[in-house]
Symmetry: D2
């Protein structure tokens, strides 16, 4: 992620926070949230971002595209335990590539970093073909958000 950090900048004003509570069924036998659930939390954050900023799954679908995840990563700093609340911070990363990049930071109730991560999505058209140029509806969205 170091090279990406130099190329692209996450857009501070395009950050959405979502609050959640640890569910009993998310905690493993060590008493901490099982690591795989963070991918769900990232999706929760991404969906909250999409709904707030008009870039949600149904908008993408209506434009004739799907945006499968092509890569994801997660670095864990602190565990979450049952009964804890946490905040998912989702930031849009403005890239010239035909991709959607989101960065995630989870914070516990003491505002300490629980984990950080990133997902990359590509655009497939109605024929499931990879789109090499950023679709018009995304360019328009970026203009409206002051990113172009």
């Amino acid at each position: 992620m170091t090279t990406r950090k130099e190329l692209y900048n996450s857009v501070d004003q395009l950050t959405v926070s979502k609050y959640a509570e640890v569910r009993f069924n998310e905690v493993d036998s060590l008493g901490i949230v099982w690591h795989g659930h963070y991918i769900v939390f990232f999706e929760d954050g991404r969906e909250a971002f999409g709904r707030e900023h008009g870039l949600d799954y149904l908008t993408v679908k209506a434009a004739g595209y799907t945006t499968p995840i092509v890569s994801s990563s997660c670095a864990h700093k602190l565990p979450l335990r049952y009964g804890e609340s946490f905040r998912i911070e989702t930031s849009f990363v403005n890239t010239p590539a035909a991709k959607l990049i989101f960065r995630y930071k989870l914070f516990n109730e003491d505002n300490r970093l629980v984990c950080s991560g990133e997902t990359v999505q590509v655009f497939l058209d109605a024929e499931n073909q990879l789109v090499l140029n950023t679709p018009a509806f995304v360019l328009n969205w970026k203009k409206a958000k002051g990113l172009l």
Copy 2:
């Protein structure tokens, strides 16, 4: 389930066993398999049954139907812990209704009953309409299995 037991009989020869191991991520903070995962195990058993007896999801789909679950139940007798293997026994219940009924029994390594359950599925046609009579492909399947 007592009344059903009188009306319908599970077909002993139409029982398929599938073996599995408890995954780390299936165990909760009490050290036992979280109860909701048994619904997944039932589906694993049902899919194993379908593949062995030609009544799998893709066969149903090719015939033009979907078979959503309309009810499910599970009674837990013993816990499963990490490191344990278990057997899922899935039995077809022969009903005159336009439904697919399966009963499940899970057994641990000592062959003791872990849980039992049941799912009921209905048939929807290509227009997502409920089908009131058992579809022909199921009647043919039942004949081939000696159930009609």
Copy 3:
């Protein structure tokens, strides 16, 4: 559930509603919420009930007990799709037995019933032994709620 309905009454004033949105990862290839996720929704409702009424997992644990699920059932009436919100209504069922019984009803945005279900939990003491009489902390809780 018919016999239980005669013996026990769900306590109308002890009903808690929780609102949620269908996640992308909860929807199956038929475009509807996969049936197994409703067990998670029931747990979400039960935990919301516990937090609001002081009968949550951590309170139970502090009293020296665990309350594993011994049976669960779910009857599906309508599907939920991606983008839909829903309400989980969780009701405490007052039983003289040493059990915790909850009933659940899920409603979609049109306030139509999506599914109903029930879970039964027993009490295990610190030695994981089944408790035959309702623990004192539950009796006190019932008194405080006007159920005894």
Copy 4:
């Protein structure tokens, strides 16, 4: 992962293959396995490796340690669909650090690469403190495997 590739080498002879089938409940509304399930597949692979090579969760626990995941990544190349079988290839990466590093490759029935990924685990002692030197039981295990 490029820099790690130079520092550490995955050990070819320490690679374990596990075969699995796509479950209905793992497929999303686009008809492909939801990306978050690959973290489960990686765990399935890691557990198969541990059982075959004596480095499983219960062995680690018996030695007085836990090994939480501190980072994970996944790069998706091809989708998996319902009805497909796949192979999870899990390789041990021999590092001098007090960590367990595994690399994963998933292959479809045509032996084409579906995804690759990596997880990193650290060692916590019985007091949940980070262990800075590789525990003796792991050094002994490495010697027995010809890695030291």
